[in-house]
Amino acid sequence: MGRYVGHSVKRREDPRFIQGKGRYVANLELHGMAHVAVKRSPYPHARVVGVDSSAAAAMDGVIAVFTGRDFADGGCGALPCGWLVPDTKVPERPVVVTDRVMHVGDSVAVVVAEDPYTASDAVEAIEVEYESLPSVVDARGTTDADAPQLHDGIEGNVSYYWKLGDSEACKQAFAEADETVELELVNQRLIPTAMEPRAAAASWDAASEEMTVWTTSQNPHPIRLLLSAFTLGIPESKLRVISPDVGGGFGSKIFHYPEEVIVPWVARQIGRPAKWVATRTESQMTDSHGRDHVTVARLAMKSDGTFTGLDVETWANQGAYLSTFAPLIPTALYITLLAGNYRTKGVFGRVHGTLTNTVPVDAYRGAGRPEAAYLVERLVDLAADRLGRDPLDLRKQNAIRKEEFPYQTPVAFLYDSGDYDRLMSTAAANADYDGMRRAQEEAREEGRLRGVGVVCCIEASGPAPSAVAGSLGSAVGFWESGEVRVHPTGQISVFTGSHTHGQGHETTLAQVVADELGVPLESVEVVHGDTGRINFGMGTYGSRSACVGGSALVRSAEKVRAKVVKIGAHLLEAAEEDVVYDRDAGRVHVKGSPDRAKAFGEIAFAAYTAHNLPEGVEPGLDFVSFYDPENFTFPASSHICEVEVCPETWQVRILRYVAVDDVGKVINPMIVEGQIQGGVVQGVGQALTETAGYAEDGSFLTGTMLEYAVPRADLLPGIEVDRIETPSPHNPLGVKGAGEMGTIAATPAVANAVLDALRPLGVKHVELPLTPERIWRAVRDAQSAAA
């Protein structure tokens, strides 16, 4: 633990947020700014026969109306996919469609007006003639022989097929199994629901031919790259992308969206700045969605409870087009996690990436890993039920032992470190697991439906070694840049390619650098989110900012320290090896003589005056590092949830929620606790309330907050959070990702608890979300089957 690292330093960004001083894209007011609105398809699949924009164009205050043809002819390229597994078939995704809409919300025309009210009026005034075409929304149903063929050359609507694991070992495990359990489940589609809807603004300087784009992005540099190389065609040297304060992303703001192209294209076309801000409904029907799997799986085991094989086949709905990283999520972030925390040998998984008439699906908090955890943890509970074993006990029996790390799973990953037995024991002790079971017995005797859900979950965070990502299909690298610029006064600007949109990097990254250099936190400022200020960066997702972005800054700070030592020794007239860098005091002194010292600020000033530098040492004190991680990190968790289900209304009440997580070393315990709590709430949302609904005819049923049920405060009691620490050996900070573990663990923890409560009624499975009606029907079905 350092002076700052390991302490709950208050978030430095919060004063501006809680005082309404945050600067979001929607707040941006530029001189002469026009307002953009998008005409969207009400059809899931239709031919666009004609677009009549004459009435809209004639309205007072309307500057221009553009159709898909204008964008195509005006040099806008199709939106690319940045992750292609072998033989991926990529449907073309135009910025604005020219002849065919592929999902409800697909963009058909663009209005530019003097104010957003007029723009909305004009959107209504555009007449589009559609010829409706047959549509399909179901992940697996789209591969049926009678499903409509959506894209030329993409047979059966399957974009790709991917498999991983040892199918022979898997077959043998099932052949020799004493017991097997099987499960078919849906991992339902979710809407990420960031507090701030997406927005984009742009300003074109005709003299310098420079474009500035403001966008709500988790990764402004990759957006600049895609705008430059694919969609807008402006050289990166003339393109600046700024992602200022952003109100949450949860993955949905990683991707390159049509509006990010539309707005700068319009700004250049009309010679005025332009801005678009999504309505909540636009967000719900055009932000990339999450999850949406149909899976058939079975687990093989010996009669003593040893898991021997896991066989998984999944149909992953990718939506109408492949979003920026879509194929990554159900492949290298899902199948690779199917070993879970267990020593199962014969793991084999395959996935069909399918196309439908729905909003594209991509990463959403957890991204692939929650889908794996929910599947594995449900199967383990079914196994415990089959064997008549306690589910915690069965998990402990099969968990990877702490002395087995680093542990090579049969599905590619090399887990770094962990102690799953201690994780589960801590959770059991904190929850008073035995007491919960006794209370459950008493409740059952009184006819009440009490359930206890226990899980042990794994995550792969901090993507990724670039070469590994490349071999798995990535079009980009996954290193991170970090620059530590010491100014002549000793003040420090830290430039990171990570982006903070709620995570608190302005605090945590400053804690890291302040400790590395032994300077006060107040003298470290963190700069992010601006391609004009940061040389490059890969951005924030996959719980990577501390692991990768933080490590890049450690590397740069090490370089600063080395130069400070060199200059300090010279100023002290001592040999370099005879001085030490005192990280507690932030100074260099002669070994054994702490009084013969030069303060950090003095040395920084000397580096810039350059009056007296050692021979061969350049002036200045500014270092950048590009840190490429050697592996993912592998956080783990054990959560225990206690519920009671009302046997009349079938509502679920969570009585207790106990979380124990291992996210390695912790930079700021308060922020980590907040991440776990927030993650748990989102995971509970998937378990109990959230579902993005499509009717069979493709119409979208959850376009407003009246229909889409994000969790509310009263859904949960206080979340009891605790940690154990097994440092990751794969980065200099020893950290593992903390942003997604809560989400990954909470969904199966709640589901296992509810199914445990329903066990006396003979219910084996209920699809998510566990709404009262679904539970009611499952109970009714189980009772009529028993009768």
Binding site: S120, E124, L701, T771, W776
Partner: protein
């Protein structure tokens, strides 16, 4: 979320509001605005003009005498929910008000607005039916008093004519009242809301009414439930049997993504039983 263009008129009196409704084409009344304005932002509603009655004096407030409660049309849900007079004279009404929406909605939304809007998911209509409310409205033809059972005609439809403005509600005093709801997890509207009123004489149930909202397009009185309880003491078994008949009044139950028609009828039975039990216990 930008509404289409509309004109705005602020009425200083009921008479002016009535006159504006009669003279301004396409005008809609607004008071709390918590149903109308969200609909306008979604462009589901596109009135060309609003007549704001929110600041008319004398239309807000609660008074009570031995016959019951008189509640002004502009009284907010929060005021009804917190009123000691309401809790004492008709506890079920305070429960219905407290169950509406969220804090913001209850602080802005008004009883007159809710009744005139007649949303199938609203909480007040079932309570008004069960508790025997009378609604006063003023229009170009003067003032009239309307029984709740006449007011609610169909989904989002009342018997009010285009110039009529609700000015107040009278509710008979009834200790034996209760309201229970199953809340939609997203919208907080009633998936099912059941209001029950039970009066007793000499230990026997003398009067009983059950109003149900959220299940059908328009709130209904569940006649068979009431009939099967009257004339005898209310006990658990009789209440259960009576509540089991609630479905007979729920033809045309509607479903959505969250709850099907069939499940709503099931929930209505559960809530009818619980609401009747609470009302009977309060009736003594």
């Amino acid at each position: 979320m930008y509404p289409s263009r509309f004109d705005y008129h602020r009425a200083a009196s009921i008479e002016e509001a009535v006159q504006l409704l009669g003279s301004v084409e396409g005008a809609k009344l607004v008071s709390g605005g918590h149903s109308l304005i969200p609909a306008m932002k979604l462009r589901v509603a596109q009135p060309t003009a609003l007549v704001d009655i929110g600041r008319i004096e004398g239309l807000s407030g609660i008074s009570s005498d031995e016959d019951g409660l008189a509640i002004g049309a502009l009284t907010t849900h929060a005021e009804v929910a917190a009123s000691a007079a309401v809790k004492s004279a008709c506890p079920g009404l305070a429960e219905a008000a407290a169950a509406i929406g969220d804090i913001q909605v209850r602080n802005r939304g008004t009883i007159g607005g809710s009744l005139a809007h007649n949303d199938p998911g609203a909480d007040y209509p079932g309570a008004m039916l069960a508790f025997g409310a009378e609604i006063t409205a003023v229009g170009s033809n003067g003032e009239r008093t309307i029984a709740a059972s006449d007011l609610f005609v169909d989904m989002f439809t009342t018997c009010l004519d285009e110039t009529e403005v609700i000015t107040g509600v009278r509710i008979p005093a009834a200790r034996g009242t209760a309201y229970l709801k199953h809340r939609h997890p997203a919208s907080s509207y009633a998936v099912v809301g059941v209001a029950a009123r039970v009066a007793t004489e000499g230990g026997d149930v003398s009067e009983c009414a059950v109003g149900v909202n959220g299940v059908t397009g328009c709130a209904v009185l569940a006649g068979p439930v009431s009939e099967s309880l009257c004339g005898r003491p209310a006990n658990q078994d009789r209440i259960r049997t009576a509540a089991g008949r609630v479905g007979e009044s729920l033809d045309g139950a509607v479903g959505d993504l969250y709850a099907s028609a069939e499940f709503r009828v099931h929930l209505a039975e559960v809530h009818a039983r619980r609401a009747l039990a609470a009302a009977a216990s309060r009736a003594g």
